[in-house]
Every structure is written in C-alpha cells, then in structure tokens.
Amino acid sequence: MSEQLMIYCDDERCIKCYACQVACKQWHGFKAGGVSRRNVIEHTSGTFPNVTRTFSSLSCQHCAEPACASVCPAGAISKRPEDGIVVVDSDKCIGCRYCFFACPFGVPSYDDDGMNKCDMCLSLGAGEDGRPDPHCVATCPTQALYFGNESEIKEIIQEKEALRLSGRADARATMEDFA
C-alpha cells in the first residue's frame, strides 16, 4: 500500500463553529437532520471553577484495521489498498447499523441507502494533485483540520510537540498517543 491518507483535527484550534460539518453536508447534498459524516464534538472535564472544554471535529478515522469492515455481515465495507480510505459499497449494505456499534467513534450514520460515512470527498472527484480534496479541511476557518498522508500528518504533530517542549505552545497531542 502506498501511504495512508488522513484528516487530523488539532483540538486546540477548533472553536466549535460547525463550518466543517455544514460544508460536508452542503457539498454532499445531505438534508438537515439526516446523514452527518462529520460532527463537531465537545468534552467537558473538571469541576467549577476549573472547567476545561475541548472541541474537536470527528469523522471516520479510516482506521488501519477497520472494525466496521470486520463486523459487516454483507462485506460492504473495505479499505482501499492504494490510499487506505475506507469505503462503503451501498449496493451491498443492508443497513443493519451493526457497524455503528463496532466503530470506536460511533461514526457511521444511515439513510435509505444504508450506511453513509466520510470518503474524504472521493465521490466529488480528485483535486489537482490526483488526491481527493476534503471540503471540510478547505472550509475550516481556523485551519484546525489537516489533510495529508501519514508522514505529512506525523510531521505536523511532531512540530506541535516540539513547540510544546520548547514552552512556546500548549500542544495537547503528544507522541505517546501515537505509540
């Protein structure tokens, strides 16, 4: 396999504006209240007065070993060998929603065609460099979302970590997360 493509969300930059979620819905033509491929989530920790709110934009992680694919009874989910994008064959999917419970992130959502999830905008055609062009990433006003292959994303995270160690930033993502 050539390198895995991925979308990374820097939760220090995310301001919970929902632009990514709206862009995704508009570009793919999803109705309000229906399928949602990308969701902005919030976690609250601590107790008053020391409360921390963390925002993040969550979508399919295109896992190295997709749990959704292994539980799908119809074999409708597969991982593309060329770029690691996890795709759904709507013709095979029966819409049993078992993948929702297998997915560690609860990402799959459903309509009459069955399961629907992020394909990194593959269905909207490739960009100039031959790679898909995820519209959530292009839309994010704070540039919290990054798109690239695995080594590009790792570089971005390492840079953040270096800044954190030098005391110039408070990056939360650490390399331990990716051990």
């Binding site: 749990a67 009874p73 095979k92 078992y98 297998a102 997915c103 069955g114 997360d177 990716f178």
Partner: protein, 325 residues
C-alpha cells in the same frame, strides 16, 4: 445521539433480541419436557413448538423491518456472506433454528401430519421420528440463537457496557428463564399428577435461573463499577441515571423479585386453592416476560460509545486506532 442513551438500535432490535431468546429458551424447555416425560404431554409439545416458532419468526420480522433494506436482507445468500461477523453467523443460526423448529412443529401436530399423509404416505409414517430429530436439532440451534443475541452485543467491542462475556451469559440465562416460564404456562393447564410433578420441577428450575440471573447482573455491575470511567458511566445510566427507573422497577422488581417470591410462595403450598395458585403462577410468568424484555431494552439503549461519554477515552483512541501498524 442524545444524552447518555443511544438511539441507533432501540425498540425493534430489543424486541428481536427478546423474542429470539424466548424462542430458543421455550423450545429447549419444550424439548426437555417432552423427553423427560416420555411424551406424556403431547399438547405441551405442540403448543410449545408452535409458540417458539411463531416467536422466532415474529422476532425475525422485527429484525427485518428495522434494517434499511429489508428485501435485500432477505436474500441471505447475498447479504450474510462475511462469516467473520457475528451478525452473519447469527442470521444463519436463526435460519437453521426456524427451519428445524418449523419442521418439528408441523410434524408434531396430528392434524398437519394427516394432511401430509394425504399426499405423501411414507413421510407421514416417519412423522414422529422426524419430529423428534428436528426437536433435538431445533433445541441446539435455539440455544445457539439465545446465546447469539448476547454475543452480538459482546462482539461490538466499542461499547464498554457490552464488552464482556457476561452479556451473552446474562442473555442466555434470561432466555432460558423466559422460555421455561412460557412452557410452564402451558403445563399449568395439564390436569394430571404427572403434570403437577413437572410444574414443581419447572418451578425449581425457574428459581435457580432467577438466582443465576441476579448473580450475573451483580457480577456485571461489579465489573463495570470497578472498570474504566466509560464503563462506570454506562453502568450508572442503569443504576441511578436515565434508565434507573426501568431497571430497578421492571428488570429487578417485576422481572426477578416478584417471580421469585410468587414461585417460592407456591412451592411452600401456602395457597391451597388450586385456581388461585395457578393465577399466582401466571402472574409470575407474565412478570418474568416483562422483565426479560426490559432487561434487553435497557442494556441495549445504555450501550454508549466510550469516546462519546469519556474525554480520556477519546484522546486515547484517536492514537491507537488511526496509527496501528
């Protein structure tokens, strides 16, 4: 998604899990009654097998109605091909169970056997043998279905509440309890000393099953309350959160305590009036069935993803799942 309960699988899957378990348990109980009594209660066999078959088919209907493409799902040879998936294994188990239970029901019913006889004599000659073989096979597959309803949830590893083998154990015990109760309801209307002896045996079995179910539930909560944050939060949804009323009143009170108390009262022969004793039995059985269904409903709806209830789990998983290998 709202609050601390999931809304992806709600009523239909819960009904299906309950009816699947009920069918498996009832068929196994009917089989045991038939072979232990040496065919003393043909009516129990006929009603018991039909009850199981109808419950299983009804459960299947709820399952099929719940998926996005019911007609495609019914083409099983196309839709259930990934045998790494418990959903697919379960679908084939169900299919086998329906076939054997249905055949057993047909060949155990005298009127239907005489219809078979009218167009195929040799087949009718072996009716009893076919019915017995199918009964044993149906009981095995039925037990498989009952266990599978729990394994299905267990094998969705991202739901902390379900991610323990105690779930299939709990569902299987509860299925046997519901099934034995249903068969006992039929046995109560048999009028013979032998039937009374079987009612007594069934009552003992029910008490054992109720105790086993209570212990398994206790073990489940002990495990989760001492586990990760997400496990604790999910368990607390049942114990003192959004689903606590349903859990304590319907699962524990109606489903376990009332049947236990009424069955014990009956076994001590305090109630002399035969009709009243039977009524108490029937109330206990109805309560057990309500409890059995509610158990599946609350376990199902409390099944939340760790990442959605616990920030730490979210951070940890982003790393683990995305960068394997």
């Amino acid at each position: 998604m709202s609050g601390v309960v999931q809304t992806t699988w709600v009523w239909e899957p819960a009904i299906y899990l309950f009816l699947g378990g009920l069918a498996g348990g009832a068929f196994l109980a009917a089989t045991l009654v038939r072979f232990l009594s040496k065919d003393a209660f043909p009516r129990v066999t006929v009603l018991g097998t039909w009850l199981s078959t109808v419950a299983l088919v009804a459960g299947l209907l709820f399952l099929v109605v719940d998926v996005a493409k019911p007609f495609q799902a019914m083409m099983m040879w196309k839709s259930f091909i990934n045998l790494d998936s418990w959903m697919a294994i379960g679908a084939w188990l169900l299919f086998a169970a329906v076939v054997f239970m249905g055949l057993c029901s047909v060949f155990s019913t005298p009127k239907l056997v005489s219809i078979v006889e009218s167009f195929c004599k040799p087949l009718a000659k072996y009716a009893e043998r076919i019915s017995k073989v199918c009964m044993v096979a149906g009981a095995i597959f039925g037990l498989g279905v009952a266990a599978y309803t729990g394994i299905l949830l267990w094998s969705a590893h991202s739901i902390p509440l379900w991610n323990t083998p105690l779930i299939p154990v709990l569902f299987t015990i509860s299925a046997l309890d519901a099934g034995a109760s249903a068969i006992l309801a039929i046995l109560l209307f048999e009028k013979s000393d032998k039937a009374a002896a079987f009612v007594k045996r069934a009552s003992i079995a029910l008490i054992v099953l109720i105790i086993a179910e209570a212990c398994t539930l206790a073990a489940l909560f002990f495990l989760h309350l001492n586990g990760a944050e997400s496990q604790m939060l999910s368990a607390n949804t049942l114990l003192n959160g959004e689903l606590s009323l349903q859990f304590w009143v319907l699962v524990v009170g109606v489903g376990l305590v009332i049947p236990f108390v009424l069955t014990v009262i009956d076994m001590t022969h305090v109630v002399k009036n035969h009709e009243l004793a039977r009524l108490l039995h029937l109330i206990a059985i109805a309560c057990a069935l309500v409890g059995g269904f509610t158990l599946r409903f609350v376990i199902l709806t409390a099944g939340m993803h760790a990442v959605l209830v616990s920030p730490d789990a979210y951070q940890a998983m982003l790393g683990v799942y995305t960068f394997i290998g």
